[in-house]
């Protein structure tokens, strides 16, 4: 009986010992195998697009930039970009790598066009010193479909969206975009301060910073001046606003089919399928009647500091005040003093640490929102060799047409000559 017990014990042991382990906590391939396979699959997908990928990079700092990327199996990528005319024309080959960071990642690891946006050298990026445009060149895979890949920057959180290109895209995508970009660039050659977007009976004052791709719309709503600023990128159809602009139920999402009309010095375009134009104008589309008084009444700490004199037709400090020896800045001091019962303002010329001299004038406000200065006299001694520049400045400051006052920030204003809008000064 005991013998039988022992024999059955052996039998149980034999069966138990050789039973297969069915409790594998991670069945199938090891994590490293899966990771390798994933990286290989991503690379195969990137390289497999024979016409390359259309890409839009949205830096964390705003705006968007378009690229055409062709990945090859030898870890090289050829790219074109709409960053400037040169990058749109000539392609550049650099290296890339797929690597397992915290997530599978695509690294552009030698310099190419998309690194321009991330370059901390502000003269290259056109962004902030030390930071560039807050863009990335190392991305992790976020979502992947056969024809599109979305990647997220690992350092700044920029977004890069790739869409598989067709043969036609490969030839036309960047050239088409570059045409819109260069058509819009002409706005920088407009000599007047005001740029107006006219479309089907509506008019908006716009200002466009083509270097950082920001656009501002100014318009009146219920008697109050409103501004709306957003950044943009370019598609093959034109300029796309990253946030749509809406005014009383009318929405603009894109400025399409941009074309420069050199004869009329205007940019023709389409908004929502209807024709529109952007042109330089001598008067603003809408005037903020309060701006002039706000400007006069609320100087920060009593005075405005001006580091530049008048800008004429886009040329900064056209009177070249900076050529005066030791000239530091201008100080505009509203209500500086009173003479025979007349309160006057001072435009002080600062040399070293103190105001040495300056013209004094009396402001008046017109019903259409202008501020007009009438010359009262000069305070201080003007050295003989300074006289021509000071004289020219004073004459410009006290033109009889006066200035439109445009609020550009919480405490900052531009005064724009109401004579022709080709001369302005920033406070």
């Amino acid at each position: 009986m005991k013998k039988l017990l022992y024999i059955s014990w052996v039998m149980v042991l034999l069966l138990a010992a050789c039973s297969k382990d069915k409790n594998d906590p991670a069945p199938g391939e090891r994590p490293d195998e899966r990771l390798s396979a994933t990286l290989d699959a991503y690379k195969a997908q990137l390289v497999g697009a024979e016409n390359g990928w259309k890409a839009v990079l949205y830096p964390e700092g705003g705006a968007g930039y378009s690229f055409l990327l062709n990945f090859t199996a030898d870890d090289r990528v050829r790219m074109l970009s709409d960053i400037d005319a040169g990058t749109a024309e000539t392609s550049l080959v650099s290296t890339y790598r797929l690597k397992a960071l915290q997530k599978p990642a695509l690294l552009f690891d030698t310099y190419s066009y998309l690194h321009i946006l991330a370059d901390p050298d502000e003269t290259k990026s056109g962004g902030v010193r030390g930071e560039g445009k807050f863009s990335d060149f190392e991305f992790s895979f976020d979502s992947v479909t056969p024809d599109s890949i979305t990647l997220i920057g690992t350092q700044k959180g920029s977004k890069l969206v790739l869409v598989r290109a067709s043969a036609a895209d490969a030839a036309n995508y960047i050239p088409r975009i570059a045409e819109h970009v260069s058509a819009l660039e002409n706005i920088n050659a407009f000599t007047t301060y005001f740029r107006r977007l006219d479309l089907g009976g509506r008019s908006y004052d716009i200002s466009i910073r083509t270097d950082i791709r920001f656009i501002t719309f100014s318009y009146m709503e219920g008697g109050v001046m409103q501004t709306f600023t957003t950044s943009y990128y370019f598609s093959e159809d034109g300029l796309v606003l990253l946030e749509p602009f809406t005014d009383a139920g009318f929405t603009i999402t894109a400025l399409n089919a941009l074309q420069y009309d050199a004869a009329n010095r205007e940019i023709d375009l389409q908004v929502n399928g209807a024709a529109a134009t952007i042109r330089g104008t001598t008067r603003p589309a809408s005037i903020d009647p309060q701006a002039a008084r706000n400007f006069y009444n609320n100087p920060p700490n009593g005075v405005y500091w001006l580091t530049l004199g008048f800008t004429v037709e886009g040329v900064e400090d056209a009177l070249r005040l900076r050529d005066l020896p030791d000239f530091q800045l201008l100080v505009y001091w509203p209500r500086y003093g009173t003479s025979n019962g007349t309160t006057y303002d001072l435009m002080g010329f600062v040399f070293g640490n103190s105001i040495m001299y300056g013209p004094a004038a009396v402001p008046s406000f017109t019903s259409d929102g202008r501020i007009v200065y009438r010359l009262l006299g000069t305070l201080g001694e003007i050295p003989e060799d300074h006289a021509p520049k000071v004289e020219a400045f004073t004459q410009q400051w006290t033109i009889p047409e006066g200035y439109f006052v445009i609020q550009t920030g919480a405490d900052s204003y531009d005064l724009v000559s109401a004579k022709d809008a080709k001369t302005w000064i920033s406070f």
Partner: protein, 282 residues
């Protein structure tokens, strides 16, 4: 007796059975991604670096951007690949070759920092200043602003060599210490060296602002400036300092020359003229 032995044997048997039935599916041969260093399809730049730096000197030059080799919190740009060979060629001509001429092939092979990391942009500090080069413990040297490199721009080339000579100087004196009297020539070393101007540092007998940091940095700054400026340039710097400071700088110069002779059997003035000739030949 028999019955007690049988359970014991059974116990042994069962242990044996359990052990022998373990499976071999958890095979450690599965390759881990990234283990054993990075790999990529090699191009002409990789081949050139391998032939000119890895094979002769066992120096690795990392030009493909690797976030983990640099400051994680800084915005940096990678190098342009077409700048890599000109930069490293210049380094070979102006740093390695002058040493090889006076000290033989094996000197650089033995003591050179083993890794150069190239970065395209500068590294920007929060105060607006920029970093041009850094080094870690005599092993790794990071060179910045490679994308603006132009070997015709002498001040920039000298700036880059300044970093390399400085770090290499540290390796040398950490291998064989310099004469102890160097530490007592001038004694107003300070950790806040950056608060004083170059002029002030020179008037106290220091060749650069950073030389005031501590005697070690003083020593290697002397080496570095003497090699990048050459004899004539160094003499001009000394001549521009006040008389008392001139004497200190000359004493330090003599100790550097003595150190190179005694520790490494290198004639410093020959090395200096080789280095100058190399810079002038660019």
């Amino acid at each position: 007796m028999r019955l007690t032995i049988i359970p014991f044997l059974l116990l042994l048997l069962s242990v044996g059975l359990l052990a022998s039935c373990s499976k071999d599916e958890d095979n450690p041969d599965t390759p881990l991604p990234g283990l054993g260093g990075e790999t990529w399809a090699e191009g002409p730049t990789d081949t050139w670096l391998f032939q000119n730096f890895v094979v002769p000197y066992n120096i690795e030059v990392k030009y493909r951007f690797d976030r983990y080799e640099v400051a994680l919190n800084k915005t940096l740009a990678p190098v342009r690949e077409d700048k890599v060979i000109p930069v490293m060629e210049t380094i070979r001509q102006t740093w390695i070759n002058p040493y090889t001429l006076v000290a033989g092939e094996n000197f650089i092979k033995t003591y050179a920092p083993k890794q150069f990391v190239l970065v395209g942009s500068a590294q920007y500090n929060t105060d607006g200043t920029i970093v041009l080069g850094t080094a870690e413990g005599g092993r790794k040297v990071i060179l910045f602003v490679i994308n603006d490199f132009d070997k015709k721009n002498k001040p920039e080339v000298k700036q880059m060599l300044h970093t390399i000579h400085h770090e290499f100087g540290h390796i040398l004196h950490q291998t064989i210490m310099y004469p102890a009297e160097f530490k007592t020539i001038t004694t107003d070393y300070t950790a806040t060296w950056y608060l004083s101007s170059l002029q002030e540092a020179r008037s106290k007998g220091y060749i650069t602002e950073y030389a005031r940091n501590n005697p070690d940095d003083d020593f290697v700054e002397m080496i570095s400036i003497m090699l990048i400026e050459g004899k004539a340039g160094f003499d001009a710097i000394v001549a521009s300092a006040p008389p008392a400071a001139q004497q200190f700088l000359r004493q330090k110069e003599q100790l550097v020359v003595r150190y190179y002779k005694e520790a490494w059997n290198i004639d410093f003035y020959t090395l200096q003229s080789n280095a100058q000739a190399a810079i002038n030949a660019l």
